[in-house]
Symmetry: none
DNA sequence: GATGAATGAGATTTCATTCAT
DNA sequence: TATGAATGAAATCTCATTCAT
């Protein structure tokens, strides 16, 4: 039986897809490391092992590529958040789980933090111009609302807590520590990313949020 | 009597100082708006209304200028922190005061936030190379330690609270909300900087921190 | 009866011809709009609704395509000129007819003008390399010679008029006005292509040529 | 007496002026030879013997440079036209003088022709955007009007001749022959720029215009 | 005959920096 | 102290063309 030299249509498509994804991953790393302004298209091509021209072929220009990267990293975190299944846990456990998840995700995806900072430096123009911005809303907000409500009903949580505010607070406690770890270290002289320091931070964050939420 | 075309020594020095400060302010705005990578030396000169060459004359190169800007904005916030006089207040009031100060300062100095983000994107290299990094340590840490200790002694605060962790947490609650306001708005569709939203955020932050600190 | 997926030979040939003509028309428009240097192969493919590769398949490269376009537009005008039948008219009427034809043809085929300008910018290299250049000679020259001779014999036209010079003059009177209408308009502030202005130009051209030719 | 190493202020200014003029001349030649689309900024810098960056320093970008070139060549021809002093001549001599001038100027400045063609290919956008477009109006129009009027009064010229139409016609007779000399040659097989052919063309043009203008 | 993916060379433009005074 | 002119290196992006079916 002879080898078929012409691949099926789907396979051809997959090649284009693969190239696009390779570029996307390379771009994500480059943008994360240098920011939008400091990123170099040449370096992205090099990282991807693909011709620079192909980047323009698929993504039009640097700005659009950045937008594509942003959409991608948001989709990634949302996918993970969707897997959390917080409603199946006790309210306090659910909140603890969310704090841990947030902390771990940010730690394991430092690119997410720098990319978000870059996006905000540009006033999130790349997101507001995105047609998919709608889909990027966090699925956690709704689950967290349910968790808070259940906790309140069961008498363990205080009432009147806005789930968006709480979500932002949890994020903020983790984000600031990790995003600014270099300046904090330069100024305080502590190694904030040493295992012990990291454990202490997570513990502190949990104390703060639960200390606030739990009824005495 | 002939006009003297060359100003006296002191005057020249004062001019030099003024030029330096003008450049510094222009650079701060430019770096804040575009980040280190996106900032343009030409634009800084234009903002300052001074010749580009002067920038190199006084600050050697773009990186050193960025470093000078960073040191300056840190000195500015530390100066303000020093005016807080938290020890003169009741512990809970002192903490509330610190939260409000942090929130207001970040709000009124958005350039501080973007500059810090830029510094961290570059792994705070500009700070660690600075000879004045030592002076940039926050005077609040020590005062906050005293406040926490007094609160604990008076029985109003829980014990075992690390002042650095708390300081970072307060900063984080404010910083993340303001730094990421553009992406948050693009995704949640809320205007986070409307007066009402701002008041709610400050109120929530205070609730979280005091809820955590105060004994029942 | 099974569907035949491959069209019959003749059909395929007809498809090929059609594709070639589609490309040719698209290329003519593109070259006319942007010149040889400014034309984009991508845009030609887009205009033709065909794959870019086909252009190379049929025409080898951009230069050869331009050459093919040039030959085509010359063939087109020569075909129209052949339909004029000037010898069947009175000499003065024949000349008037030629002036009107020239004016109308240039007006209705602005692409002819810009293509000729492009060809001349490149020193007509695309024509001199063409094997069909011979066929591009105007059939009008000979008829015009006959018309002039008859007019002279009948005593209505002056003698000693070179038909090529006259042909070029008629063309020039129309061509310059239309080719340079944009700059003329920018400078004189008149709208040269308004109906009234157009009628005046044709009238003037006829006056000039007949004023020159006709005996008193 | 020591050489003064610092040139006077005016001399410094002249250096910048000289650079600008050098660039302008180089750009004029390049644009004339290759058109706007085909011109290369690199080649302009090379022709000028100056750093490519300087072109952007003085002229912002390629389009603005083209605009500056256009303004310049228009100013040049207008300056020459102003020197004509047609009103001092007999009407018929004045018109002959204008025809000769137009013919000679176009012959000696082939760049003017190709630049105008380029400008028109771009719909004279570079002129209409120019603030100096007003100044580019030909001074000849008014003088020609006076000449025509005087000729009519003296009974040598026909009446009712629009000076703009006549100006355009004279230009057209010369322009078309020279602008399209390459295609004409490729098609007619004549060398249109040989001395004899040139003399014949000028003679023919004069015959046409005066044949039209002069009363019998 | 027809096509989407890919590429190398080169285009315009940008930018930090230095020169010359 | 201050400045306009000038530059080399490198950035983004373009374009005609070819590859692989």
């Amino acid at each position: 039986m002879a080898r078929d030299p012409s691949p099926a249509g789907e396979e051809r498509v997959r090649d284009a897809d693969r190239s696009q994804n390779t570029i996307l991953a390379a771009a994500r790393d480059e943008f994360a490391e240098y920011g939008l302004g400091g990123a170099r298209v040449d370096r992205i091509a090099e990282r991807a092992g693909l011709n620079k021209r192909l980047i323009y072929y698929y993504f039009e220009d640097k700005e659009k590529l950045f937008q594509a990267v942003l959409e991608q990293v948001y989709r990634d975190i949302r996918d993970e958040e969707r897997k959390l299944r917080l409603t199946e846990l006790e309210p306090a456990t659910a909140v603890k789980r969310l704090i841990e998840f947030t902390w771990d995700y940010y730690r394991e995806h430092p690119e997410f933090i720098t990319l978000l900072n870059s996006a905000n430096l540009h006033k999130a123009r790349h997101l507001s111009e995105s047609k998919r911005a709608r889909e990027l809303n966090s699925p956690v907000i709704e689950t967290l609302a349910a968790v808070l409500e259940r906790g309140r009903k069961e008498g363990v949580f205080r009432g009147g807590v806005d789930p968006v505010q709480l979500y932002v607070s949890i994020a903020g406690l983790a984000y600031f520590y990790l995003s600014n770890s270099h300046t904090l270290q330069a100024i305080f002289g502590r190694d904030l990313l040493a295992p012990k320091a990291r454990a202490e931070r997570l513990s502190h964050m949990t104390d703060v949020i639960l200390g606030y939420l739990l009824n005495a």
